[in-house]
């Protein structure tokens, strides 16, 4: 009986110690100054103006990011964009595959794989996303979804519309045109 108690006590001690150490601890670092160096890291902090993630200085243009879409976020800007812009992307197999991949990353969970608005987001708000091939309901532009022009779509991605947020920070201008091309060629008139 005494031995049994001793064994139990020992086991419980061992178990108790082996339970130490959790996942919220990064462990030890050899030469931590190589892991946490004074150089400025992406998204780190700095002592000059706080965050490393900064907007470009006003009036400057980052290389390869010349903005060619100069319409503002208002309804007038939207209508003007629809009337005047053309899609600079050439439609071919390669650009369509690229557009499809991007559409899968940025739009599919709301607009659905086939553009019928049956995305994977389960929240009620996103159960009423318009269909790309809808030909009845008139949109802001006075035309239904299947007649939206490239400029309209580009404007919608850039500035958003109501429950759809603006996606300008996630996709570059070129990528936006690729998506628009894919939507126009494959989804807008699908099922016809």
């Amino acid at each position: 009986m005494n031995k049994l108690i001793l064994k139990l006590a020992l086991i419980s001690l061992v178990v108790f110690f082996s339970s130490c150490g959790g996942d919220s601890d990064p462990g030890y670092e050899f030469m931590p100054n190589m892991y946490r160096s004074p150089s400025l890291e992406t998204y780190g902090e700095n002592t000059i103006n706080g965050m490393n993630a900064q907007l470009p200085v006003e009036g400057t243009i980052a290389r390869g990011h010349l903005l060619t879409f100069n319409y503002d976020g208002t309804l007038e800007g939207y209508l003007a964009a629809g009337n005047t812009t053309v899609n600079p992307i050439q439609d071919n197999k390669k650009t369509r595959t690229e557009g499809k991949a991007l559409y899968g990353m940025f739009c599919e969970h709301c607009h659905g794989e086939t553009g019928t608005g049956d995305g994977t987001i389960k929240h009620a708000i996103y159960s009423a996303v318009p269909h790309y091939n809808d030909e009845k309901l008139l949109r802001r532009a006075g035309v239904p979804m299947n007649e939206l022009k490239p400029g309209h779509m580009f404007h919608a991605i850039t500035y958003g519309l109501n429950a759809m947020g603006p996606h300008a920070s996630q996709v570059t201008e070129e990528e936006r045109w690729l998506i628009v091309n894919y939507v126009q060629q494959e989804l807008q008139n699908s099922g016809k």
Binding site: I5, L6, L8, I11, S19, H109, I125, N162, S169
Partner: protein, 442 residues
Amino acid sequence: MFLRLKNINLRPKIEYTFNMIRIHNFKSCILLIAVFFTFSFQSLAQPDGAQIFKANCTACHTIGGGRLIGPDLAGVTKKRKADWLKQWINSSSDFIASGDADAIAIYEEYNKVAMTSFYFSDEDMEALLGYLETPPVEEVKVAVATDATQDEGMKSSTKMMIVALVLLILVFLLTSIKNSLKESLGQETKTVSETVIAQTNAFLANNINKLFVGLFIMIVVLKFVFDTLMGIGVTTSYQPEQPITFSHKIHAGDNSIDCNYCHSSARSSKTSGIPSANVCMNCHTNITSGTATGTAEIQKIYDAIGYDPETRTYIEGYEQKPIEWIKVHNLPDLAYFNHSQHVTVGGLECQQCHGNMEEKTVGQVATMQELNNISFNKENGIEFEHATLTMGFCVDCHRQSEVKMDGNDYYTSMHEKMKEKYAGEKITVEKMGGLECGKCHY
């Protein structure tokens, strides 16, 4: 709506009675069939107001859930006449243009946001108005107590603690039982500590036992020292608490949002990037509460960016503050790792290095075992033998991983030469020079 609901309730009941009655009463059976058919026929022909509302309006309106893009529609049928509503829903823009004072007033109130023109058929419109008139009784939500973190099950360490506690309690219980037994016999009693000390002394009196215990302690200590040394700089399964209990399971898992939607720079740059608050706001301008944590966690996004979920507007002049996420993966500065090289050029899946993130809450360094179980790694014959984020981890994969040769214009001539040189062999990253120190160290 009411009719339809009744139908749904009645149908199984009728079917049930139908089966029961058939044996006894053939006549009433036929009657029942007739009733059954008329009911189901009706339910097919009747347009469903709830369905119409869900498919067209929920993006902008709630019924009794507060303002979204447009006003809360609870009680709107009392506020407006049916005719007014019909005109408004069919084409609010035409209605406003026609100069209706109420229409213009509400349009102005909502900052001239245009509502879609619907032009419903008369039956659809009736069904919809019927639905607006008698919206569903507020569903009593059963409080879902599963916290986002509890979902993953208890941590193994907590489980061990509990086992240890149970064992300890057992020890004291047994001792007290023994003592009370002894007491009733009039024998001498001992407490737990007395027993333990006496037993240990008796055990150690033997020299061989002493040697074994000494050896045992030495091995344990050495193993501990060795493990600690080997563990230096290894951050496997590290998962710190984050300022917002953001759940990858809810977003990337349940709602299947692509990893690149939030980590949008992985395709094109060295870092994968943590989404800024504006990305969260793409959805959370409207989704103001979650099933697991209510408004508590989502409110933290609003506190950072300055958004008022009541009026659904950004607070002007608000001093925005960053959300300070804690960095989980961290290579030392002596090593260079680039996401676009792997994700875009190499065509690898995030899961190959990060494990099943879509099943976890906040960011975690995946363990080696987890990575070896990922289907992409299995299919490509990649098996890791070194802990994640060590140099061995990179080298393991570079030795086994094949280079994606097609669709890569940048290296066309290089790839042609390699195909010639290694004809018939698997061209791994190693053969391309992926193990040269200078590729990863600077």
